[in-house]
Every structure is written in structure tokens, then in C-alpha cells.
Symmetry: C2
Subunit: 97 residues, 2 copies
């Protein structure tokens, strides 16, 4: 699996922008989770990456928005640190509720 | 040098939030560049990372905002792709104006 970080820059001042953000969020969350309002961590196969990229390109407005996709280093716990509100849930660990 | 991606999640609905974003942007841009409205790519030494982290923690509101710091894979060109508006400038290449 390939671990990706997807950062989506969109103006949420307009309803159209908020709609695109919801659409992008839905596409990303199908393969991972939302860690910030417009930042997502996803895990995909090579084939899924092709579909994911295609869907993102269709959902975004290329003349107004920006999407950046970073391949994350493994293991992710070692190369990411979070401060403040942390929305990440490690689904590979047992959930303590 | 360590290449980092810094994602800052802050509500820009309030003047206080916008002020914190400006402050965080200023701290990050001293070591790199703003690639999206609240996403920054920076390069720092181990020692600079300590100061940078400290400054970010002081600038953010830990009860309201989120900052995520990712160590990027090298070479960055190979592991990042940008779609739509791209604000990144490769300062290591000759600038063609």
C-alpha cells in the first residue's frame, strides 16, 4: 500500500467551494481519514491511486483550487507529529472506547 | 537538512485566527515557502527544527488549532505532485523571469 497525504486548498467562502471540499473529502475518506479540515491521510494500491487521482481532478476546479499529493515515509508514526487538536485515529491499533 | 511539510488548521472566520495564520506563515516562510494557504514546505537543520517547533507551539492556539509536521521523502520532486494552482517555486533551479 502507498501512504499518501492529500492537501486540498479551496476557498470555502463560496457555496461552490464548500461543495467541492465535501466532494474531495468524500473521495479521500473512502481510502483513509480526514486529519485536518482539508488534509487527508490515505492508503491506496497503485491501481487505486490512478482512480483516486482521476476523481480528485474531476472534483476540483483546476483554475481555482490546489491539490498536493505527498507520498509519506514509512512507518508514518515515525515521520509525523501532531500538535493541538488531533483528529487522527489509528485504526490498526485496538480502539479503546 | 530535513525537509518538512507543515499543515496548519486554523479557523480563519475570526480575526484572531487570521492573525495566528499570519504569524505561523511568517515563522514557516523564514525556512521555506508557502505552497497552499495553510501548508508550508520548509528545510531545517536538527537544531532549527527545535526552535521552529517551539515557535509554532507558541503561535498556535492548542485548544483550537491543529499543526501537523511531516518529514518528507527525498528527493521531494519524486514524491510530491501538484494539481491546479501551484505556488511552489524551485529555488534550487535557475529562476526564469
Amino acid at each position: 500500500m502507498i501512504d499518501l497525504l492529500i492537501c486540498y486548498d479551496v476557498s470555502t467562502q463560496t457555496e461552490a467551494g464548500r461543495r467541492r471540499l465535501r466532494r474531495v473529502a468524500k473521495i479521500c475518506v473512502a481510502h483513509g481519514q480526514r486529519v485536518q479540515n482539508s488534509v487527508f491521510e490515505v492508503s491506496v494500491t497503485d491501481v487505486q491511486l490512478l482512480t483516486l487521482r482521476q476523481k480528485l481532478l474531476e472534483a476540483m476546479d483546476v483554475t481555482e483550487d490546489s491539490i498536493r499529493i505527498y507520498r509519506l515515509r514509512q512507518p508514518r508514526e515515525k515521520f509525523v507529529e501532531a500538535h493541538g487538536l488531533d483528529q487522527y485515529v489509528d485504526f490498526s491499533e485496538p480502539l479503546i472506547l
